[in-house]
Amino acid sequence: MPAILKENSAIKFRAVREARGDFPILSTQMNGRPLVFLDSAASSQKPQFVIDAIDKYYREQNANVHRGVYSLSQLATDLFEQSREKVRAFINGQYSREVIFVRGATEGINLVAQSYGRKFFKPGGTIILSQLEHHSNIVPWQMIAEEKGLEIKVIPINKEGELQLDTFEQMLSEKVQMVAVNHISNALGTVNPVKEIVEMAHRFDVPVLIDGAQATLHGSIDVQEIGADFYVFSGHKMFGPTGIGVLWGKEELLNKMPPWHGGGEMIKTVSFEKTTFNELPFKFEAGTPNICGSIGLGAAVDYFSQFDPKEVVAYEKELLAYCTSGLEEVGGIRFVGTAKNKTSVVSFLLEGTHPYDVGIILDKLGIAVRTGHHCTQPLMDHYGIPGTIRASMAMYNNKEDIDRLIEGVRRAKMMLG
């Protein structure tokens, strides 16, 4: 459990069912019908609480950080750094300087690949990814692997969409220089045994990056318990704004890594002969950071802490079960990804139809789902399908949303069948 919640265990949580009312967009319409938003895995909606924090920042608190002597700049700097501390607590990191603000999960992975990889990867080595990865956790590694002469190997999955750890174990050796896997699969919802993966990799002293993009929406993260070396996630997928995300890394490793981007903020002294770099976290935060985004993300963390993470998870499981059984009743549904340990993501195909067609009809009915390959083409190829229809739920969804989805799928079946 994140320290923030441990420390506040006496506080009274709000009921999860109250969350829906906090999200203004959920009372809007799409194509003339009340919006049913079931695409939170792509990007979550924002509560008024976060919107207010952003609004207040620009109205009352805006100034550049870490450079003004005047009070307003000091205020912005304090808020910015408080957000860093909030994020640290949310993921139970050890030090807030281990929290690097980036644009999102994608940038976090690129940073590690370009900084750590460029310095430490040796030709002839191996990078291990998994069949479940998002393109964001494939392409940055391919780029550096090509440059440095490494090979990429892939942890296979079983039919259910679960990683095959026995194979992974056999893949590990001294040659492996990085393991990068997601915490939760965006396309299937599989929750991966990241702690075990880290333990196994560490037996060979192999560093592990966990792509947590899909995890922070669903419950508490404890990076120390997971034991990973790097953990990345995106603010927009956890009720925060776009354009902000986090790379958390172990201080010892981050200290050894060279800066990636150069510019202001990340330096100590600059002359044309020699520049010395700033300390963590600033070494990796060149230029004016996304101050407002960070503050919005801090607000998202605060918003989360209003709810009991156990209740959130239980509620989402209830929605998942309700959605799964509802779709089963429609008939002709093929579920893709049926892992035992799964978040509130239902990926499916409607027999005899193309996901795109179903998506179009659902859109007309005011239902937002994602169709296609979900930026996981290797995974879709593995299943031999062009893509799926994916309904992903967050704590602001309710059973009426699911009812509308089921009704929509029935309609699509009728029209397309």
């Binding site: 194509n31 139809t353 193309h354 996901p355 795109y356 067609d357 998506g359 179009i360 009809i361 007309k364 169709t371 296609g372 390959h373 062009p386 893509g387 029209m415 397309l416």
Partner: protein, 142 residues
């Protein structure tokens, strides 16, 4: 052979009979289902236009001073829209194809299907059809 705009106007008239999106889409889906638009043997990578979501196959053939199009898609709604595009453009003269203003799509309320974010391959397909019209039979998109 009626000209491009006559055919477009005819489609627009057909669509004016529908009162809601359901009827309209049922019609498109029917069109998508009924027509075999291309010989299976041409559904190869040589003829594919990849959208991010659905695939389109397109083949053009010159017949005298006319160009005939054959196409298909793995998504039926996309295919339905393709069948209308073929109805409008196939059998026309190259220069007419190249210069065609395909206003019918907007008029029948299907403009959203041509938004690049739909990534269904239709935008690239139209580009490719016009390109064939220009007489350049090379493939420009994939």
């Amino acid at each position: 052979m009626p000209n491009i705009n006559d055919i477009q106007n005819e489609i627009i008239e057909d669509f004016s009979l529908f009162d809601d999106w359901m009827e309209k889409y049922e019609y498109i889906i029917d069109m998508g289902k009924s027509l075999p638009l291309i010989d299976e043997k041409y559904k190869t990578d040589d003829y594919i236009i990849k959208g991010c979501q659905s695939k389109v196959w397109l083949k053009a053939e010159k017949e005298g001073d006319r160009v005939n199009f054959y196409a298909d898609s793995d998504a039926v709604i996309t295919k339905g829209i393709i069948s209308m595009l073929i109805k409008v453009l196939s059998g026309q003269r190259p220069e007419e194809i190249a210069n065609a203003d395909l206003y019918f799509i907007e008029k029948i309320g299907l403009k959203e299907h041509l938004s690049p974010t739909r990534s269904n391959g239709l935008v690239s397909m139209i580009k490719q059809m016009k390109y064939y019209g220009l007489g350049m039979e090379s493939k420009i998109v994939n």
